[in-house]
């Protein structure tokens, strides 16, 4: 195992550990824990056996394993970014609802 692999291996083990801890504290649901664990698991597999990426890349018609890893990371990042935008918009609407209720309540008090 080369140095980069050892570092990555430790990072993924740490992420596994953190995910498990969050589940135990009930900060993550079972589905979320499973999803994240699956991602860390694939990361671990790719760290220990980097050739696996090339194998899947060939099946999908992508040239190199590293390209597959980059495309996958981009899709995941895009998805997470979009989820954040949607969540932010929901929070914004809640803030608007509160602002409106307060404004109308204040007006009623003055009348």
């Amino acid at each position: 195992m080369i140095f980069a692999q050892i570092i990555l291996f430790l990072i993924f083990i740490f992420l596994f550990f953190k995910t498990g801890l969050k589940w135990k504290k009930k900060e993550l649901s079972f589905g979320e824990t499973f999803g994240w664990s699956l991602i860390w698991f694939f990361g671990l597999v790719l760290t220990i056996k980097p050739d696996t990426a090339s194998y899947f890349a060939k099946i999908l018609g992508i040239g190199r394993g590293v390209d597959l890893a980059i495309y996958t990371a981009l899709i995941i990042l895009f998805y997470l970014h979009f989820t954040l935008i949607v969540r932010l918009e929901k929070t914004n609407r809640e803030i608007t609802r509160l602002t409106r209720e307060k404004a109308l309540e204040d007006k009623e008090k003055k009348v």
């Binding site: 803030i95 608007t96 404004a103 007006k107």
Partner: protein, 220 residues
């Protein structure tokens, strides 16, 4: 009873002139929604003796309109007019819009800058931005209009009770037209005069609207 809803944000230069114009035309039931202005918009509006509702923080024009709509519906409004605070609309256009609403038994009347030549629009807006925005609006709502994103609207109480604006910013215009279609409201356009004192919304504002509409699709 007719109520005029005026959303305002940092409009201290125009708010008084706008309100006085409405008062001079005989409209007594006016509510200004001060959308967290950092200037004296609310203070100047209050000086004219009309109702003022203040958002503690800025939430956008769509949010202000919804606040105004909720207020006037509770106040017993039968006809509701949305009117911009920047002094670009002509209060004289309100009476003809209300007349059309009543005579033709409509639910909603929308203002259009393209039905006569009173509005002197900036060239780029008239020939590039608005036609493209019209196309997007038609694509999103399924309704063909001569104008787009115009703040002049007249509603009956029955119609407004069914319209809920959840788009806080400028995408509320498209959302209102969508709800007109969804509720199968009878509507018409009337010519309105818009005097441009500033350029108004720019092309990138349109991109923001498209983004808001896409995000909205995933929130429902």
């Amino acid at each position: 009873m007719t109520w005029i809803v005026v959303p305002a944000f940092n409009e201290e230069k125009n708010i008084k002139k706008t309100i006085l114009g409405l008062l001079e035309n005989g409209y007594r039931n006016i509510v200004v929604i001060d959308d967290g202005s950092m200037d004296n918009t609310a203070g100047l509006a209050k000086e004219t003796g009309i109702k003022v509702i203040s958002h503690l923080i800025n939430r956008g024009q769509g949010a202000s309109l919804q606040t105004g709509h909720e207020y006037v519906l509770k106040a017993g409004a039968e006809i509701i007019v949305d009117f911009d605070a920047d002094g670009q609309f002509d209060p004289m256009d309100i009476s003809s819009a209300i007349e059309k609403l009543k005579q033709e038994n409509l639910d909603v009347v929308l203002g259009s800058r393209f039905l006569d030549d009173r509005s002197q629009m900036p060239f780029s807006k008239k020939y590039f931005i608005l036609p493209f925005a019209r196309f997007i609006n038609r694509f999103c709502t399924g309704i063909k209009l001569t104008d787009v994103h115009n703040g002049f609207r007249v509603f009956t109480r029955k119609a407004l009770e069914k319209i809920e604006i959840t788009q806080d910013k400028m995408a509320h215009n498209t959302q209102i037209v969508s709800q007109i279609k969804k509720n199968k409201f009878c509507f018409a356009e009337v010519p309105v005069k818009v005097s441009y004192t500033n350029y108004g919304q720019r092309w990138y504002g349109g991109l923001e609207i498209i983004k808001d509409l896409i995000v909205n699709f995933f929130i429902k």
